[in-house]
């Protein structure tokens, strides 16, 4: 996805960006109603009515309706050359200070050859100090503000929203109110009764179970449909070879 270096002060660590989020265990395929063949997402040219292979695709900025300015990957990398291959940690912050409203999308960073030791050091030191690194980096056309955090011995990188993207809450927040003591006591009792350890797996299982139940039920009622098999190049094969083999095959079959 992205290879580069992460740096803090004078230390630079070669890393690769790895996804941290994947589709859940139970996913559905989109199929064609007509032949039950699975569908794939492809870029399609409406003018030529054809599928366009990746090497024929370029990026463009819409100057006016229907008028596009093509922009190359090299040009995009050139916009912030100091950030397109480097995640430079600018500040370290206390992880607890980050308002969760800023969290956007998580990734992992994996060490590349030669970076393992420095990677391990940064992960361990951030864990001990409960700190996160703040950095900016550019991937394709976007610049991301990111928090690099230590996660079970690994480095995770969470993209953050820019503060201008966080909407103001004025008009939504309630005015200072006199709290109802009885109501509060009652709520507090409920909260204490319902306090548990956080175990996210429980909820994923619950959801999965329901879908599995549905599928099991359906399996009893209906047979699965079959997607058509994509035929490999068939045809007859080289005629001479087939004829020669035919001859030998006859011998094999007539063998006493």
């Amino acid at each position: 996805m992205w290879d580069g270096t992460i740096s803090f002060s004078l230390v630079a660590i070669p890393v690769r960006l790895v996804k941290a989020v994947k589709p859940g265990r139970i996913t559905f395929r989109t199929l064609h109603r007509a032949d039950y063949s699975p569908l794939a997402r492809r870029m399609f040219c409406p003018e030529h009515e054809q599928i366009v292979p990746p090497d024929e695709i370029i990026r463009g900025y819409e100057l006016a309706p229907g008028r596009y300015l093509p922009v190359t990957d090299e040009e995009l990398e050139s916009v912030s050359p100091e950030r397109s291959r480097t995640i430079e940690i600018i500040d370290f912050i206390d992880l607890d200070e980050v308002d969760p409203v800023y969290f956007d999308h998580p990734y992992y960073l994996a060490p590349l050859k030669g970076g393992e030791k420095a990677y391990r050091l940064l992960a361990e030191v951030m864990r001990r100090t409960n700190k996160a690194g703040l950095a900016k980096f550019v991937m394709v056309e976007r610049e991301y503000l990111v928090a690099v955090v230590s996660m079970e011995g690994a480095l995770a990188m969470i993209t953050l929203h820019y503060s201008e993207e966080v909407l103001p809450d004025n008009g939504i927040a309630p005015k200072e109110a006199k709290l109802e003591a009885v109501e509060k006591k009652r709520m507090e009792r409920s909260i204490r009764n319902m306090t548990a350890e956080f175990d996210p797996a429980k909820y994923a299982d619950l959801r999965r179970e329901k879908v599995v139940d549905l599928l099991n039920l359906k399996m009893k009622e209906q047979a699965p449909v079959e997607a058509p098999v994509l035929e490999e190049e068939e045809g007859e094969g080289p005629a001479d070879l087939v004829a020669a083999l035919e001859e030998i095959m006859r011998e094999v079959k007539n063998k006493p």
Partner: protein
């Protein structure tokens, strides 16, 4: 997570989750897996050597999800040998299982099955062997594959070729025809195997199909000639398979195949890990010839 550090040939390796059951129905654990491949390493390594290894990983055992991994995991130990191969327009780094430490490292990743291409990484367009992948359709079994293999053997002998059968470790058989000549191309082996498959289908229409379509395969053995391709991989001889029990893709003697077909005894053709280790000890590597025997595809 439990970890155990070992050292093999000066290479340090940290093994994890040894007590995890990978074949839960028979209590076969990660430790058993490492033990099997450790004992088998002398026999399997020559067949894996210098070939782009595809891992088929079952991190939570055979009853759970698996995934194929063609790229060498980024965090491989420095001593793992790798090769750069191109797939389409993309380059990628693959692992070469060239020593016991690497074999055990990939097994620590719960790669129950090991798949390799017919060509070596340095000469990706040169197959060392031609393969006939005999895959029984619904209603056919491994004995039907055996019948087809025996006809192939007869056919090959008239072409002055020797083939070597092995079980797929699942329901089918693989017949390897060693070539080991640098001028062979996948085009050659594909054309040849396809012609053989078509002739077989024509002469044994009730037993054989050369077509991939599922309905054609019912009750018949599909000769999958299209495996003779640079982009395809075959399960390596001596690799375990992810079934309810740890069955092995294991070489057979023609005689033994003949007996099994005559006796109508398919059970003899399903070889477990324990049996595999015992037989290797007694008879050595029956597939050795596949790596060295030089044969030429006849010009017909």
């Amino acid at each position: 997570m439990s970890r155990t550090a070992i050292e093999i040939g000066g290479k340090r390796l940290s093994l994890s989750n040894l007590e995890k059951e990978l074949y839960p129905s028979c209590g076969f654990t990660k430790a058993n897996l490492l033990e099997y491949y450790g004992q088998m390493s002398g026999s399997i390594l020559p067949h894996l050597k210098n070939r782009a290894l595809t891992l088929k990983r079952y991190p939570d055992g055979v009853e759970q999800e698996y995934f194929f991994e063609k790229r060498c995991p980024v965090h491989h130990p420095a001593w793992v040998q790798t090769a750069e191969v191109s797939r389409g327009s993309k380059q990628m780094t693959v692992c070469l299982a060239n020593n016991t430490a690497t074999l055990l490292w990939v097994e620590n990743l719960a790669s129950l099955e090991l798949h390799v291409p017919l060509a070596r990484a340095a000469s990706p367009e040169t197959p060392d062997a031609m393969v006939f992948d005999l895959d029984p359709g619904e209603g056919a079994d491994i004995l039907d594959c055996g019948r087809v293999a025996l006809v192939l053997r007869e056919l090959f002998s008239r072409l002055r070729l020797t083939g070597y059968p092995k079980t797929s470790g699942q329901k089918g058989l693989h017949v390897f025809v060693p070539l080991n000549r640098p001028e062979t191309t996948f085009d050659d082996t594909k054309q040849f195997s396809k012609a053989v498959a078509i002739i077989m289908q024509k002469n044994y229409p009730d037993l054989v199909t050369a077509k991939m379509a599922k309905e054609q395969r019912r009750g018949r053995v599909f000769i999958n000639w299209s495996q003779n391709d640079a982009s395809k991989t075959m399960v390596c001889v001596y690799s375990l398979r992810a079934r309810e029990k740890p069955y092995v893709s294991f070489p057979l003697e023609w005689k033994e195949l003949e007996l099994a077909v005559k006796g109508g005894n398919p059970a003899r053709l399903h070889i477990t890990h324990a049996e595999a280790l015992g037989r290797i000890k007694a008879a050595g590597d029956l597939f050795r010839e596949v790596l060295v025997k030089k044969q030429k595809l006849p010009h017909l």
